[in-house]
Symmetry: C2
Subunit: 305 residues, 2 copies
């Protein structure tokens, strides 16, 4: 197939939009689409100080790269959870992030190291936490959200950006719908406004890009990234849901975009409004929580109770 | 595995409830569960006159059978759409229904024959209807709902029952959620109350029974039923959705029951209330419609316009 822009051999065929593009025009298209999403959802402007949470994977490194290319004030945050399992997962991910940052002067890589800051790795915390029942996955998101909020607050970033792609968002949506978790549905959005406690606005500029699109961008832009999934994720239900949704997308190209897009429309129209939860400040760390006193993160540490 | 009730060899193993039962106790369990669903949702009582819409398949014939065994005043309605396609699908389905009815004195089989009543088969109507774009499936539900309502009204039935099972309901729910059709979600329920126009209450007493449970009941009760799917359904997206949901159920027994059950809970709590549509009477047939004048069924016939 030929590139729609220049007629040269296309490298990327996107069935949902019936669009084929060559290497050069795909790159431009991806940057342009990201810019469009940022504008559509009024995510941030050039006066904002943006912190991108980077895992070392294709999505977050591509996002960091695109935001730099678009001239935003953007730094990266790597959260080191000390995941090892004989594969040095966290250490290897961090190396990809550090190499990326080292080759881009004018941007700063910040590190939040769970073991250095709190004296325990993710696995160690999971071992003594009832909530986790020995499973680190139950704590991963909680700890990462807390670290992002903390660094954004301490370093005066106005926007926190994550690299969630469309497949991630559709998978989360599918899981939330399967269990009708209306509180989560109420908070699943491309933009969560800043909290009155002074916490940064949260945005997902790649939320409308398919996973294969971010992978293609990273590869064509020469970004080296960690391909392995987290060793703990192997049996996660999210991977099973993703697999089901991929079948759906294969049968009916554009299905995920429609599922997510129509959800956002209903959400904007107030479908889950009544489900939104009142938040207030954690008495220990000051971050927003729906719990009456200590937030879920601060309750992880026995000394706080 | 052994029957939980009597210790004899079990014929039916139900992973969602971790329950195994022998032939005799499965039969009793199925009838009991149906009774329980009827009570839980306050579907009808022994003074009601119930009309079961029967297709000749396992679900609707099992429902008719169970309602007779429970001592309800219940008749059947077969809607003959004249589907042929060289396989005599409607004619063969009708034969199964007629054989069932003939062997059960004290119950009446009513027939609504589209071709006899309106001069055209489903395929013929589809051919001249813009709405169908040549596809009969777009009209099937519409025509069947209209016929059920008409017969119930003409013959003074107070309740219309259909054999929708849990897999049907979960599949419809999945399709409605994928496209965020909130109007349909608002009306997807085990009971739709009677309309002020005098139309019958609609109920689905098998909505909490897995498809394999109704199939097992029909087989063990010696009910002969048509196994083939409608020849038009082969490429229906509902079959693809059912396949996806079956994978989900296999990976996680009870997933469909939870998906549907939690939806009903949210629906009862008013999640989709704002989406409910105001209905009024069709100016031609008097059935409820959201259209301003003629209902969608009456608009199928050029003479009415």
């Amino acid at each position: 197939m030929k590139c729609r822009q220049c007629g040269r051999t296309a490298v990327m065929h996107m069935r949902p939009y019936r669009l084929s593009l060559c290497e050069k025009h795909y790159d431009g298209w991806f940057v342009d689409q990201t810019k469009r999403t940022i504008r559509t959802y009024d995510m941030f402007g050039h006066s904002d100080r943006i912190l991108v949470a980077v895992s070392g994977g294709k999505d977050s490194l591509s996002l960091w790269d695109v935001l730099l290319r678009l001239g935003y004030q953007v730094d990266g945050l790597y959260i080191d959870l000390g995941i090892d399992r004989g594969e040095r997962y966290s250490a290897r991910s961090r190396e990809f992030v550090e190499r990326f940052a080292a080759s881009r002067p004018g941007t700063t890589l910040r590190i939040a190291d769970l073991n250095a800051d709190y004296g325990e790795t993710l696995q160690e915390v999971a071992r003594h936490t009832r909530r986790a029942r020995g499973k680190p996955c139950a704590l991963c998101g909680l700890i990462k959200r807390h670290a992002m909020n903390r660094v954004a607050l301490d370093e005066a970033y106005t926007v926190l950006a994550t690299g969630h792609n469309l497949d991630d968002e559709a998978t989360a949506l599918f899981g939330n719908v399967l269990h009708w978790q209306t509180g989560y549905l109420a908070r699943q959005a491309p933009v969560l406004p800043a909290d009155s406690a002074g916490l940064a606005r949260k945005v997902k500029p790649l939320c409308r890009r398919y996973e294969r699109e971010t992978a293609a961008y990273a590869i064509l832009a020469g970004i080296e990234y960690i391909i392995d999934e987290c060793p703990f994720a192997a049996h996660a239900s999210s991977l099973r849901y993703k697999d089901l949704l991929n079948r759906l997308e294969t049968d009916s190209p554009g299905a995920l975009l429609q599922f997510y897009g129509k959800f956002l429309k209903q959400r904007e129209d107030g479908l889950f409004e009544a489900q939104a939860v009142e938040l207030h400040k954690c008495s220990h760390c000051g971050q927003p929580t729906s719990a009456p006193d200590l937030c879920a993160f601060c309750r992880l540490w026995p000394d706080n109770e």
